[in-house]
């Protein structure tokens, strides 16, 4: 004897009552994803820029010149491997914060990653960075 399978003609719909919850969870997920950005970095305290030059103070401070691939400390070329140690030694005998100022002067073509490495090492050695920016950079003669 054959038993006929009962065919169901009912319309099968996905349960719509849960879509609101699913979509709400999607909102939360995307908002959390959007807010998680790599926002970790290095704090850098720079004194406000002043146009007046204090020649006497500058003469006392350590001067670091950053070129494209090398750095000069008080006019001497210092290899990258010795830079941190040299600065630490120079700053060691200066207990007052105003004596720990390191004047940083960069060439125009210095890449940011190299500049960042140098300034990080200055700060880690206890120096206080001051940027020396030349004003006459963009003069154009017709």
């Amino acid at each position: 004897m054959k038993i006929r399978r009962r065919s169901s003609n009912l319309l099968i719909e996905p349960p719509s009552s849960a879509t609101g919850d699913i979509a709400f969870n999607l909102i939360i997920f995307f908002l959390v994803c959007a807010s998680v950005q790599p926002d970790s970095g290095r704090h850098q305290t720079l004194p406000r820029s002043e146009e007046t030059e204090e020649k006497q103070e500058k003469d006392k401070n350590i001067e670091v010149v950053v070129k494209r691939q090398v750095t000069l400390v008080n006019g001497d070329v210092v290899p990258a491997t010795q830079f941190a140690a040299r600065l630490t030694a120079l700053l060691a005998g200066k207990p007052r914060p105003e004596d720990k100022v390191v004047v940083v002067k960069s060439d125009d073509d210095v890449p940011y990653h190299f500049w960042m490495t140098v300034t990080s090492q200055i700060e880690d050695a206890g120096g206080i960075i001051t940027l020396q920016i030349e004003e006459e950079r963009e003069i154009q003669v017709p």
Binding site: F30, Q37, G41, H113, D124, I133
Partner: protein, 135 residues
């Protein structure tokens, strides 16, 4: 003869909830993208001893083409200081954080005036970098 009243179930219509929530999703995503700079192209430099930048209302970015952006919007170098001052307003010390995101190969000619502008505007500068794991 008594006619029985048919009991009607009063349900909140749930069919439209998905559409409403989806539109909300689109709205928030667009709103978030208009203000942030996640769509801009740049590669962070590396540094050691990095820490959390904290909450900030100002973000300055120099992208791979050395173009300057303030909170995701293109900005000129000349008006940068004034605009940062406006955004920082009367925020107290500790809340005046300015995130600086510079493409690793951008040159000093481009990023040093930006650093100076942030400093002059009274911003507390935070360089956004990646942890250097080489050494």
């Amino acid at each position: 003869m008594k006619i029985k009243r048919r009991a009607i179930r009063a349900d909140v219509p749930s069919m439209a909830m998905g559409d409403i929530a989806f539109n909300l999703l689109i709205f928030f995503v667009i709103l978030a993208q208009a203000q942030d700079d996640s769509h801009l192209q740049w590669t962070p430099a590396e540094a050691r001893n990095i820490e959390s930048a904290g909450h900030s209302v100002v973000s300055v970015l120099i992208d791979t083409d050395e173009k300057l952006y303030l909170n995701g919007q293109p900005v000129g170098e000349s008006g940068l200081e004034m605009k940062i001052e406006e955004l920082l307003g009367d925020l107290s010390v500790g809340e005046r954080i300015v995130l600086l995101k510079v493409h690793r190969d951008a040159t000093a000619l481009r990023f040093e005036p930006v650093i100076e502008a942030i400093s002059s505007a009274g911003g507390e500068l935070v360089h956004i970098v990646e942890e250097d794991r080489d050494e």
